[in-house]
Symmetry: C2
Subunit: 364 residues, 2 copies
Amino acid sequence: MRLFHVDIKRFEVEGLATLKDISEELGLSVATVSRALNDFPEVNPKTKRRVAETAERLGYRPNRIAQRLVTGRSGMVGMIVKIRADMSADQTFFEVLTGMTAALASRDADLVLAVDQGDDPVAPYRRMMERNILDGFILNAPVPQDPRVAFLQEQGIPFVMHGRSADAVGYPFYDIDNRAVSSDAVELLLALGHRRIALMNGEARFAYASARRAGFEAAMAEEGGKVPEAFVADIAPNESAAYALALRWLSGRAGPRPTAIVCASTVLAAGVFAAARDVGLHVPGDLSVVAHDDALPQTRAINFAPTLTVTRAPLRDACAPLAHALIDHIDGTPSEVLQTRVRAEMIVRESTGPAPEGESDPWP
Amino acid sequence: MRLFHVDIKRFEVEGLATLKDISEELGLSVATVSRALNDFPEVNPKTKRRVAETAERLGYRPNRIAQRLVTGRSGMVGMIVKIRADMSADQTFFEVLTGMTAALASRDADLVLAVDQGDDPVAPYRRMMERNILDGFILNAPVPQDPRVAFLQEQGIPFVMHGRSADAVGYPFYDIDNRAVSSDAVELLLALGHRRIALMNGEARFAYASARRAGFEAAMAEEGGKVPEAFVADIAPNESAAYALALRWLSGRAGPRPTAIVCASTVLAAGVFAAARDVGLHVPGDLSVVAHDDALPQTRAINFAPTLTVTRAPLRDACAPLAHALIDHIDGTPSEVLQTRVRAEMIVRESTGPAPEGESDPWP
DNA sequence: AGAGAAATTCAAAACGTTTTAAATTTCTTG
DNA sequence: CAAGAAATTTAAAACGTTTTGAATTTCTCT
């Protein structure tokens, strides 16, 4: 690529002042102007005021590129968005996007998005890194042994993860206790007398799904129960997949009917509700349903009839902590103090009730 | 914001070579290494080869920040995405995104996205411009007297527009002939004997909707027809709005029933189909339907039953021309030669047929 | 061998900013 | 007033790359 300098200059913003302009007008050095604007303590307050006023008047704006060249920092952090073949993205996409944009803005940082449709999870990071413009990355949807982690750590690129790829990791993250998401739900249902509890989990490839399955199975094992394989399922995150599976479970075709189902999301719960209705089961009289709720506008648990009992962890609550963690990490804070674990809140609503009479037999 | 240099350096990529490393190893000047890598004609081919091989071996990658500082170019172009209050975006979003990303990559450029939920259309551009990192912008969904255009032109920032805000504009664009979208549909329907043709248009605030209304009304006027106001409607781009309006039209509550409807999108056509079915009308026997088709995967005209007659202009076809126009414009090509107008293709399928017997009376 | 032309490479400046360490100025004290 | 300390400002180098115009090298011809 042949780069030109002469013609391009006409596209530069007219009237933009540099430190040099300010220094000439005030009879100060460029270094002093820079130190004044950056609030260095040894600069006289009066000098600081004069510099600030002149900068304002001349419309000075720092050249971020020049800053980046010297400091290695641009104030821009990246996020890669995975696009599916059908041109959709995870439904949480915009929620995260807007929350993260706002949170980063409070730290004078900008979010830079890029999309990816490829098969190599690392390639888009490599590509964005090549520009050498970004300060760091925000990662989400971790898988066990996430190759992105290895790559970014090897390259020494700061990043934070929404979720985590393992229990103990060497990077900053914000994660809910996914074991507790399942075990809390199981404990509530056990307390209500349920013994045949099924898990409708998220996609197996994600780390959160592994943790939830582990938490579910551990809680069931505490009660002395071993759940049949058919009733612990990892499925695609859509209502129709949930509907089909729930139909099989509730029709008795897969074995004894569960009296309760723990769902990975409110979307799956909607499918379960529809299946229960279609086989003539009443929620919660015949079947109790608990779901995990990311508190997305489109899938509100309170919009369900009956209202949905949930483990609730608003996705949006992750944005500010993640943004701050990333900026702090870029500033030099060690990873260990930037790892946030939160427990989802159990909110009992109408979709859970006592196990039906005569339906307290455990899984065989 | 206080910027630091010392501690941050530990995040720099290990082992990255600079031009200086190459020049030292080969005993050449930094200038020659640069000129060799940038294929300057006066550099000896043998020298070029030696430089290229050494760069490859040392893992040299250009520091884009340094290039940007000298040339004013970063190879990154921006696009602002409007997010609605319900956390959704235009359904064309991902289609444009992926197409544009690929097209820009072929020009060694990257797309940088930012989201906006505010009320001021100009503010996000101002904010992104403040970083002084982007080479230009891609704009879409123009409105008449688009304030973004005025702002970016005043600031001398290169941009291209998908669509245009007026008939004659001073910036590069890629646009379909929206007048012809309507008039082509009307002409087809007139040729089939239809006289009572209604227009279900897009949102009035967009420039394309104005053009389509004008084209529709002009084509109907050619036939000596004046369409009643009630049958030329600007509506929200969703199926339920279309369904409700079509019900009113087809029930006869708004006046004589139209024998044909021209829809702004396939989404609206789906609403019209549903309404026709619900009032017992047959498509195309009782009602012909033509829609504009952006050829999005989710809203395929061939997925309709009966298959849909459309004016077709795949949204994706805009991506490469827009990407190239922007890079060329940044390179100095004048706007006038970067303005592309395309005519949508008329594809006649099953949803259009002759006007029903005894239904050839024009609008009153 | 010398002169002139052509080919090739180089030194230096530029881009705008930050920061180290030195220089300069101001203040305090005897 | 002079000396010393503290406060403030500055010169210079750095960041990595590009490009102008000059310098150097190579080639050709007499």
